[in-house]
């Protein structure tokens, strides 16, 4: 009888430069040190069943990464949390974990929204009003093309359909805080850095992005926005 656990992982500034692939390996080694009875995939080269809901861009911190672990024998979730946290390097921690029924869908198949906190400088002589106007003008376009260098070559796509919601807040007299919600779709997603780059290119905005943080991942349905740790199927 296998057990399925969904956990929220924090990635702090100490480890923000670790790539997604390295993060997966780091978590796997921590689980092995904690002697977690991980379940493995089948095949010539069995891999532990650890699945991240959505890769986090390098350089970014996060207070809400979600990971699905499959254990080959059940562990009490609190025990799991304690054991694994004792083995994670500085900057990484499991904040919470929940056991989900076996029949639940895979976490990565249901998570479809990411919320980011972005800090943007207001250049001299420009107020938050100026920014709101520029920002809204930017998002009113039908199409804003992002070009991304991938291993398979250059990928070009329109970022507008990925914008779900945003909220602006004056942070201080010289900066603005943006809460930006972006859709995650089976076809892909747009990174907040790409949105901000496109914004700066379109509007000629001079202020620098000085803060970029993923607050969490969510499941949006007709009945609202849910956290993976409380959602029911």
């Amino acid at each position: 009888m296998t057990q399925k656990l969904w956990a929220r992982l924090i990635k702090g500034p100490e480890v923000r430069f670790i790539s997604h692939l390295d993060l997966v390996g780091t978590v796997e080694k921590a689980l092995r040190r904690a002697r977690v009875p991980l379940a493995f995939s089948q095949g010539f080269n069995p891999q532990p069943r650890i699945a991240f809901a959505a890769a986090l861009p390098v350089g970014m911190t996060s207070s809400g990464e979600y990971v699905e672990f499959t254990l080959r024998e059940p562990w009490p979730p609190e025990f799991f949390l304690k054991q694994v946290n004792g083995q994670l390097p500085p900057g990484l921690a499991l904040a919470a974990v929940r056991e989900v029924p076996e029949k639940y869908p895979a976490l990565m198949a249901v998570v479809n929204l990411a919320r980011y906190q972005i800090g943007l400088e207001l250049p001299a002589g420009r107020g938050s009003e100026d920014f709101s106007r520029a920002w809204e003008g930017f998002l009113q376009q039908e199409e804003v093309t992002v070009s991304r260098q991938t291993r398979k070559g250059l990928r070009r796509f329109n970022l507008i359909p990925y914008i779900y919601h945003y909220r602006l807040q004056e942070d201080s007299s010289d900066s603005i805080a943006i809460t930006l919600e972006l859709r995650l779709t089976p076809q892909g997603s747009v990174r907040p850095g790409e949105v901000m780059e496109a914004f700066r290119a379109y509007t000629g905005w001079e202020g620098r992005v000085f803060f970029l943080h993923r607050e969490g991942l969510y499941i949006v349905r007709d009945d609202g926005i849910h956290s993976p740790l409380t959602v029911k199927f």
Binding site: F17, L21, G25
Partner: protein
């Protein structure tokens, strides 16, 4: 992390190289210890972090409450540029302490083409490059590793050199350093004299080299009473009693050898005549099964690595290799065990098949030479039959990709030997699969250029000159017909430079300095190697590199490294050289009889096969 570093890291490739916060990294307050040591590796993080010797020293030094060791690697050129821009000195990874603030900076010398990185790291660390320019407050710059058995090209830059295995001598050295510091720590010569009295420590500045009219060495003369006329290497007699790194640092990023390392034994008794490691690490000393199982358990608990490599010069030679593998697999169901070096025979390939299955896409075999005759010359005890059988077993086991390693430019090599390389590759490529499968899909033939190394039977041999090496590469290329064979050759100019520095003397210090000033670094990396700059350096200094690489040295000529001893007698090497020319093999001294290399009597140490008889059914299941 320092704010300046925070700024820089997003702009460089692979920033996790420079974090220093990996699991098991040890951070100590320098004010709470008496001596600080920077373990410097003159290559990029991924290479340095894969080196077992450095892990051992990190563990041993940090275990002392009165000492701290931090790691430092050669910054990749993009990071170097940022450090220079920001005027940040090179630093120890754990606490960011500038290199110049350590009491001692110790370089691991694994490869001659890292020497300019040694200089570059000193420069980036703001440490005076030449030993004689250093004064009170500057660190002592030391070195160890295989290239330390001829450190002469670096003599101008090193305060002292450690010969042989470091785990015991490092403690003795740090204790002397601590005492010297407590007495005031001003007189560098006083420290070096005390250090020179420790067996295994060589202080280059305490020796004067006299040259003959023809440019060869006439004599090397010690100039202080503490400096021994011949410095013997250090070895650890009992590896079961030796400390081992039970909790090595686990990198965040994927490194060259990203797995736990279990060291089965040191030394190798096979006696390949080209192999420096086989000579300088003698005699063979095995760990007992019991020790290895305890170490495997500690590594599993402390690192969580999903893979464990059984490392040694020739791992499948471990007396109880089958027993060890069986017990590891029983104890750790999902641990992948891997064998880094496979001997070319069906026994080894079968073992690899048992432990690795088809996890690895390809299997690597190193016949080294293309004919039986030449393999006898180099004492590579592998027959054509061994090769055939090993390949047949591998194909039957399901492997479809092969990597074959050969050398060209070996002494006495002829056309026939080169064609033999092509012939073996063709044979492997057309080995049928008895099960009727697809058979061999790809054969990658990697041909490197032979570099004669000090303290080997071929130390007197000239290297084959470049143009001829290129021609020999072409002979092989032309002889290969099968399109499934890929031939990789090595840069002959890099091999030439390696040969120059491997058997160089002190006069090459000028060249290193000139090359460093011209911007040479990472010379072992094709994308950074710039031979033009080296030519410029040789011309500017009026030194002919061919004198070092291409000249046949008479047996009577004093060699630059004669005063440094790995325990193997020079007359054994010359005997082996004569046997090579006659094509006479020499037996494995751990299996058959002693071939009188001199190591055991010199070091008063017998070879030690702790595993017991080779997987003898009688002893299987028993542990010492």
């Amino acid at each position: 992390m320092k704010p300046e570093l925070e700024e820089i890291l997003p702009q460089v490739s692979k920033p996790t190289r420079y974090l220093g916060t990996e699991w098991n990294a040890i951070k100590k307050d320098h004010r709470q210890v008496d001596v600080s040591f920077a373990l410097a590796f003159p290559d990029v993080y991924e290479v340095g972090m894969s080196h077992l010797g450095s892990k051992i020293l990190y563990h041993i030094i940090n275990k002392r409450p009165d000492a701290v060791a931090e790691r430092v690697y050669a910054p990749w050129p993009d990071m170097e540029a940022r450090l220079r821009e920001a005027s940040l000195p090179l630093f120890g990874l754990e606490t960011g302490t500038p290199l110049a603030e350590f009491d001692m900076v110790g370089f691991s010398l694994q490869y001659e083409l890292t020497y300019t990185n040694v200089l570059n790291m000193l420069a980036l660390g703001k440490i005076p490059l030449r030993q004689e320019e250093r004064g009170p407050g500057d660190p002592f710059v030391i070195a160890g590793g295989p290239c330390a058995f001829n450190p002469e090209p670096l003599a101008d830059f090193l305060d002292l050199v450690v010969l042989g295995e470091g785990e015991e001598v490092i403690g003795e050295l740090l204790t002397v350093l601590k005492e010297w510091k407590q007495e005031g720590g001003q007189d560098r010569e006083a420290f070096l004299r005390r250090a020179a009295a420790i067996p295994g420590i060589y202080v280059p500045s305490f020796y004067r080299v006299h040259y003959a009219g023809d440019g060869t060495i006439a004599a090397v003369e010690p100039t202080r009473p503490e400096a021994a006329p011949r410095v013997e290497k250090r070895v650890v007699a009992d590896l079961d009693a030796a400390d081992f790194p039970s909790a090595p640092v686990v990198p965040f990023m994927d490194i060259v050898h990203d797995r736990a390392m279990l060291e089965l034994f040191r030394g190798c008794a096979r006696g390949c005549r080209f192999c420096q490691a086989g000579m300088i690490y003698r005699p063979v000393r095995e760990r007992s099964l019991k020790t290895l199982l305890a170490q495997a358990e500690a590594l599993q608990r402390s690192t969580g690595y999903p893979e464990m490599s059984l490392t040694s010069l020739s791992s499948t030679d471990y007396s109880r290799i089958r027993e060890l593998i069986r017990r590891l697999q029983e104890a750790y169901g999902d641990l992948k065990v891997s064998l880094p070096s496979l001997r070319v025979d069906s026994f080894s390939v079968n073992l690899a098949r048992e432990v690795e299955g088809l996890r690895k896409a390809s299997i690597t075999l190193a016949p080294e030479a293309g004919s039986q005759r030449l393999r006898d010359v180099i004492n590579k005890n592998v027959t054509d039959r061994d090769i055939e059988e090993a390949v047949a077993v591998a194909v039957a086991g399901g492997w479809t990709a092969f990597k074959l390693y050969f050398m060209i430019g070996l002494p006495t090599e002829e056309e026939e030997d080169l064609l033999g390389i092509a012939r073996i590759a063709e044979q492997v490529a057309s080995t049928p699969d008895p099960a009727g499968g697809r058979g061999v899909r790809r054969v990658t033939v990697s041909v490197s250029n032979f570099v004669p190394k000090p303290h080997t039977p071929f130390q007197w041999e000239p290297q084959v000159e470049e143009g001829e090496l290129v021609r020999r590469q072409q002979v092989i290329r032309r002889a290969l017909k099968n399109r499934r064979i890929i031939l990789n050759t090595h840069d002959t100019r890099a091999s030439f430079l390696e040969a120059v520095f491997a058997r160089g003397d002190r006069r090459l210090g000028k060249i290193l300095l000139a090359a460093h000033r011209l911007g040479c670094r990472f010379d072992g990396w094709t994308e950074h190697f710039d031979y033009g700059k080296w030519e410029e350096a040789f011309t500017a200094c009026g030194i002919d590199p061919a004198f070092y690489a291409l000249r046949r040295r008479p047996f009577t000529e004093p060699l630059p490294w004669d005063h440094l001893s790995p325990g193997v007698a020079k007359d054994f090497l010359s005997r082996e050289y004569q046997r090579a020319l006659r094509g006479e093999p020499t037996v494995d001294c751990s299996l058959v009889s002693c071939s009188q290399c001199g190591v055991c009597p010199t070091l008063e140490l017998p070879i030690r096969l702790r595993g017991g008889d080779r997987d003898d059914p009688e002893t299987v299941g028993q542990i010492d």
